[in-house]
């Protein structure tokens, strides 16, 4: 049986932990708001880009002369998995869910006899995939100490990926990140980056309107330029969504932890009071029976 002093210490320690998780939750909430704003304000650019790209891509009739970034290089042998995760843990299943999805796909690809290469962005993904796929790692980028993600970060990754593609180091690139659905729901997602997945032209009006656009210097050149830009835009979107998801995930994880700590404190306090009362009763009985014996 733990002594009263032990139990007091235990309660104090759980309380201290609760304070930490509570603070982390509030910090995550503040960061989440900022990350959400960043993701939101990045949306117009991506949407315009998608629109123009979709129109242009639908016009490329001749598949042979089309840019490789759009139609691929005709092979499907070497797959590059770009796995985006967070720099830090304590955010629920966020990192492990992304890593799990990437791991499943990698195993599937290996089972089909494909070659898998992995490019990790963020420390946690590298840590959890290293044991199994350490030999497949080709690149890694960490954002340790980066406060605010900006487009240059995405551009840096995009340049490396494009460089590898042009050197023929891989045929297909897929991006793994966590899509931010809401504060409580984040969905690990795989997005094919190269060859580009072109969104369908939804708006019939936009379709006809674009038919009369003229292109300068030429359609092919504009398309080629856009496709390169699209890679960094998609990567940037992935980074921002991931940042928002990470904070959302951390917030709910820390909320749970705070609540669990509260439950634990209640239980321990009840136990502590019972024990204290039992001790008092015992002492009284000893005194009374001592007095009776006289």
């Amino acid at each position: 049986m733990a002594s009263l002093k032990d139990m007091r210490n235990r309660i104090a320690s759980v309380k201290a932990t609760q304070k930490i998780t509570k603070a982390m939750q509030m910090v995550a909430a503040a960061k989440l708001r900022r990350a959400q704003e960043a993701a939101q304000s990045a949306r117009p650019y991506a949407e315009r880009m998608d629109g123009v790209l979709a129109n242009l891509a639908s016009k490329v009739a001749d598949k042979k002369s089309a840019p490789q970034l759009l139609v691929g290089n005709g092979k499907d042998q070497v797959h590059l998995l770009i796995v985006m995760t967070a720099e830090r843990g304590l955010c629920g299943g966020f990192n492990s869910n992304i890593a799990k999805l990437a791991r499943q796909d990698a195993q599937k690809l290996l089972a089909y006899g494909k070659t898998v290469k992995i490019y990790t962005v963020g420390r946690k993904g590298a840590d959890s995939l290293r044991r199994e796929f350490g030999k497949s790692f080709v690149e890694r980028t960490d954002f340790q100490g980066v406060k605010q993600l900006n487009f240059d970060h995405a551009q840096g990754i995009a340049n490396k990926v494009l460089g590898m593609f042009e050197a023929g180091d891989f045929d297909v690139a897929t991006l793994y990140f966590s899509e931010f659905k809401s504060v409580i729901a984040q969905k690990p997602t795989a997005l094919q980056l190269i060859p580009a997945k072109i969104p369908e032209v939804k708006d019939e009006g936009a379709k006809t309107a674009s038919a009369v656009h003229e292109y300068e210097p030429s359609e092919e050149e504009v398309l080629g330029d856009l496709l390169r830009r699209n890679v960094s835009t998609q990567l940037f979107r992935g980074l921002l969504e991931n940042a928002a998801s990470e904070q959302g995930s951390r917030m709910s994880a820390m909320d749970n932890a705070t609540r669990n700590a509260g439950d634990m404190i209640n239980k321990l306090t009840i136990k502590y009071n019972r024990q204290r009362q039992a001790n008092i009763t015992k002492e009284l009985i000893e005194i009374i029976s001592g007095a009776e014996a006289l």
Partner: protein, 132 residues
């Protein structure tokens, strides 16, 4: 004058400018062009350079580094990878951008990259001369 049109300057991070403009001069890849309301629809890539925005009598100059422009009769959308308001550029920013651009110029492998870096360097020198 045919009136105003909607002008939007969008960077990957956010919408920088969204105004009704009278005229915008855009540094296109194939040469500068001015957009007025009712311009024929077309899409072009940009070279680094300065946008001259004329909106409601006020003039703004914005430096853009590569991107593309989408022109419609009632709208001009510019997607720029990076943009700075020229009036708000401090000597420190200019110096930083200039040295980055000069490094790009030195490292440029093909003609297109070289001419892009070259025009950015020239533009930045002009701005810094004016600021000094």
């Amino acid at each position: 004058m045919a009136g105003t049109f909607k002008f939007e300057l969008v960077s990957p991070e956010r919408v920088l400018i969204s105004v009704d403009a009278d005229q915008v001069v855009v540094p296109g890849a194939g040469g500068d062009f001015a957009v007025l309301a009712g311009h024929a629809p077309f899409i072009t890539t940009l070279r680094p350079g300065v946008l001259d925005v004329l909106a409601g009598g006020a003039k703004r100059r914005v430096l853009v580094k590569s991107g593309f422009a989408e022109v419609d009769p009632s709208r001009l959308t510019i997607l720029a990878q990076a943009a700075y308001d020229v009036d708000e550029m401090t000597p420190a920013i200019i110096a930083r951008e200039l040295s980055a651009a000069e490094a790009d110029l030195a490292a440029a492998k093909d003609d297109a990259a070289q001419s892009a870096a070259d025009s950015l360097v020239n533009e930045l020198r002009r701005i810094s001369a004016k600021a000094a």
